[in-house]
Symmetry: C2
């Protein structure tokens, strides 16, 4: 029942906006309140400063010529534009191992994201504790209705469980899914946005040489031999 206010910027831009938001969260901790220029942002993320300014136009913050943008203001504006809460809730679906592993690999709270529930498709995982959270059965997700305030899910279940999972998530009111499980074309529940991270494809595309990129994803590379202690 959420109303789409503004017209969203193109996907490419949305992705970069969230990178600015992540970056500001990181350096905001260091130097609390100061100004930051489009050049600084650009350098930090490997973009051009024009791109940054163009992107920022979308969110409607005003910079000060000669001085740059107010960090606090910029971060707030981004958060607003992205419709993010200060500790934005999300749920995750996957086997117990990957849920536990992700807590280390992806410390979501450091990025302003808060896991609020974990679900597994494996019976053996149910009841296990991962961090502060007790793993629930996928069935309880399907029947249980809406998960408190969350519309976001990270899915890393087994390939066989993808369709069931998406159905259950849809019923639970999830509208945005980040899919880590590699599937070619899952059944797309209506009203659900899915972003795919295709591990096998990204790996295959990497083989034939450096200088690869994925969008989610920007990347850099340099030719020449690497200097090792060998």
């Amino acid at each position: 029942m959420k109303i789409q206010g503004h017209k969203r910027a193109p996907e490419t831009v949305m992705l970069r906006l969230s990178r600015y938001h992540c970056l500001l969260g990181e350096i905001g901790g260091e130097r609390p309140s100061r100004r930051i220029t489009s050049r600084e942002l650009a350098d930090a993320l490997g973009l051009s400063e024009e791109t940054v300014r163009h992107d920022l136009k979308h969110v409607g913050v005003e910079g000060r010529p000669g001085a740059g943008y107010d960090m606090q203001e910029l971060r707030d504006a981004l958060q607003d534009y992205l419709e993010l809460g200060p500790n934005h809730p999300f749920i995750a679906v996957g086997n117990g191992d990957i849920l536990r592993g992700l807590e280390v690999t992806f410390p979501s709270r450091d990025f302003g994201l808060q896991p609020v529930a974990y679900f597994s498709d494996r019976a053996q995982d149910v009841g296990m504790r991962v961090g502060e959270i007790e793993v629930q059965s996928l069935d309880s997700l399907g029947s249980g209705g809406v998960i408190a305030g969350s519309s976001l899910a990270l899915v890393a279940c087994a390939p066989e469980a993808v369709d069931v999972t998406l159905d259950a998530l849809s019923c639970a009111g999830i509208t945005g899914v980040l899919m880590l499980t590699p599937v070619l074309r899952p059944a797309h529940p209506e009203g659900m946005g899915i972003t795919y991270f295709r591990l096998p494809c990204a790996l295959k595309a990497l083989v034939s040489g450096p200088i690869p990129v994925a969008l989610t994803a920007e990347s850099a590379a340099c030719e020449g031999p690497h200097g090792c202690s060998e």
Copy 2:
């Protein structure tokens, strides 16, 4: 010491080529040898048929007007162009949990990818078995030299360990890295191509509404309410 033969197609195209390769691997098992049209490929992956034909031009396979492409020939050509072996080796770096979890979530062998070594940055994980593979210490990677025949790595270590990991991988001769750990700007060893999957950014970009996309990544979505048994 690999020589770059052909000029690589643009990144977007490379990514789609690897999707075709994955798809052919999947349906190749079902119906062994037959022809497939650009329309079929396009429909299966949510692309336009013109895009498919353009992409396929890059790899240099010839289709037959009125009939389509020979599936076997196409798959071989893609494999060739992507410089993939039939069971292409890769290594993975991450904590024991995520390594074990990924075996389920991402059954790499089904996609023609073969994990040949696992490394962890946590002492407690060393010696543990994940599938057939014994987890080694990250240190042994740094000192050990080249890993048999592999130049590809999937990295899902802790954020603190990213720089160390990349250095070690570089020394071990790894030239392509798929980075799951979210880091803004890691030190890039020379000659290494890194693709980033930015979990926090992708999640944040998903919040403000359906119809998101990431490149790695295509996605679809529809407006309107979803039909649930509620």
